[in-house]
Symmetry: none
Subunit: 192 residues, 4 copies
Amino acid sequence: MIIEETKRKTLLPGILKAALKLFVRKGIDGTTTKDIARAAGVAEGALYRHYRSKDEMAGELFTVNLERFTADLDRVLSEAKGARRKLEAYVSSIFREYESDPDLFYYLLVAEHKELTKQMKGLRHPGHVLEDLIRAGQAEGAFRRTDVMTLFAVAFGAVHRMCILRRYELIARPLTESAEETSVLIWTALRA
Amino acid sequence: MIIEETKRKTLLPGILKAALKLFVRKGIDGTTTKDIARAAGVAEGALYRHYRSKDEMAGELFTVNLERFTADLDRVLSEAKGARRKLEAYVSSIFREYESDPDLFYYLLVAEHKELTKQMKGLRHPGHVLEDLIRAGQAEGAFRRTDVMTLFAVAFGAVHRMCILRRYELIARPLTESAEETSVLIWTALRA
Amino acid sequence: MIIEETKRKTLLPGILKAALKLFVRKGIDGTTTKDIARAAGVAEGALYRHYRSKDEMAGELFTVNLERFTADLDRVLSEAKGARRKLEAYVSSIFREYESDPDLFYYLLVAEHKELTKQMKGLRHPGHVLEDLIRAGQAEGAFRRTDVMTLFAVAFGAVHRMCILRRYELIARPLTESAEETSVLIWTALRA
Amino acid sequence: MIIEETKRKTLLPGILKAALKLFVRKGIDGTTTKDIARAAGVAEGALYRHYRSKDEMAGELFTVNLERFTADLDRVLSEAKGARRKLEAYVSSIFREYESDPDLFYYLLVAEHKELTKQMKGLRHPGHVLEDLIRAGQAEGAFRRTDVMTLFAVAFGAVHRMCILRRYELIARPLTESAEETSVLIWTALRA
DNA sequence: CATGAATGAGACTTCATTCAT
DNA sequence: TATGAATGAAGTCTCATTCAT
């Protein structure tokens, strides 16, 4: 196996778990607190014992998990050596994350959050991890000298789209089984 | 120039123009009819002379323009010969569409529309155009025999992500100037 | 024939005619000016060239026609001699009025007009004509000395209900054919 | 006393009580949810915890109470023997119902409900009870063989009109005191 | 600490009326 | 004069949040 298994605990508290599912299916604005309460099996008022507001729930769900996810990525990549290995590690980490909790992944990396713009500012994001990876790869001569953002678009776009296709069941197998192939395609496009 | 200029008329009526801008910035649910009316410079009631409801506005904006866009793409691609030429034509058409009206493009191809699911069913979409292109390219031996969806993810993901980067001003130059380079990267990844 | 033919001209202007039909079917509040304009084949604005407001239309429709109707009744009854004859004349006049324009009759005598209370105050009404008839009949010893309002309830209630039954097609024949029978029943109940 | 006392509990919940009063005075369309809320002493939103919509309130008010009322009538009449007794029972039941809650009675038997047509279809109605009574009376030879609907018009019209006169204070005494007299008049008109 | 009824601001929509053409 | 688009007040309903129990 290319990269090490990373320990993961999503362990979302029940309320957040319920909220996540709904946010992902109906959007944040499209989800009512009543929906969340019912899905979580608690009374509406109980939500406010844990979170100051619906937006805080949505924000926390986003922030906490994105931070954990990005930190995981950074850790995994720091253990891989060389542009190619790092790229492989990146792709398979992303795909593993997707499969471990598709809803959460969708919420973090796919869904738009017009409602949260504030709270998302300045967070380090899996995109940043990939961008760093590409810059470093260019510096070591592994990747083309083309504009970084273009390389980034190919790599991030490919990985991201794989997740979307999977989610809409246009890809039937677990993404983890497509990681190597996907890495190869991206590598082929990017290498010097 | 690789492909012919296609005539385009967005010419959105003022109300739709205003609505589009807001939908793109704040989402459909996040945009109020009052917002739209103010932005369009009319009274709230006036919206309803033209559209039966806010959702109908959002739906029409989507449906009409997506159909036109996809038809344009199909036409342009039918005039290009060979997988490589078609791929180039696809990328530059997409980028031209983006630059001609970034908000509209974002609304059609980037934004999620949890609110519209109904009206979007069954429409032919630029993604379908690309999928057809890739299948044909495989059939003629131009592209790898890898799983279609994986090739699709690389190609569509790259193009799509370029548009997003541009929109968030992470790419400064008009995308039309990056079309060739982007095509080359995708071609490199996909070719047999 | 018991009573003379009375000349009648409803000749409602087209707009009132259309409005009447709608008021009767959907109520005044339930009828929109757009409905009326469409039914009358004119533009909405045109309504206001003839009537200051929807309520004025409704009011005029009521007032003008009720006055004419009541005056007709008074005239017809003044020509009939004796309680029994007057009663017969009353019943057949009412029934003839119903059959000559069921919508208008319904509007005048059956429908409630919570919206018009003001304009209806103080108008002489077919009910008053009947009440006078009964008092006179008691004075001449033709009717029981029972409380006037009870006699009135029987007589007016019967006639009024016949019209409603006819309107809902629970009575198939023209009411004019039931006038004699109805008079007999009422006479039987009321006579001394 | 002619018929037995029937136990009655209107006990409308506060909101329905308030709504009823307003519906009766201003019509359903003429009553706003704000009116109802103010009259019931609650916030507007609170209405919707109990009823899905204003029309549902109006419908339930009608349906539930009409069913109860009609069932009461059927029960009372089944205990009275012979056409004359049944007629007396009918009249006094109606009058008792009126006096026990004039607003509710008005809402059920007098007001028009253009808005509710749907929900009223197929319900058994006090009119049906009376119609059955008259048919049975004819069958046993107690009533004239005249057209049923004409007899019905006299009987129902009289009773109904008594209630209206009472409501507009043209009758000062409780209707229960006029029941016998009214029965006699109707009986006189209808008997064979 | 949980509940869920109540609140009240504000969303969407309708419609009588006005007014530029 | 007739038209019908536009206005804007007002109506119905929703929902995040609060609070008495």
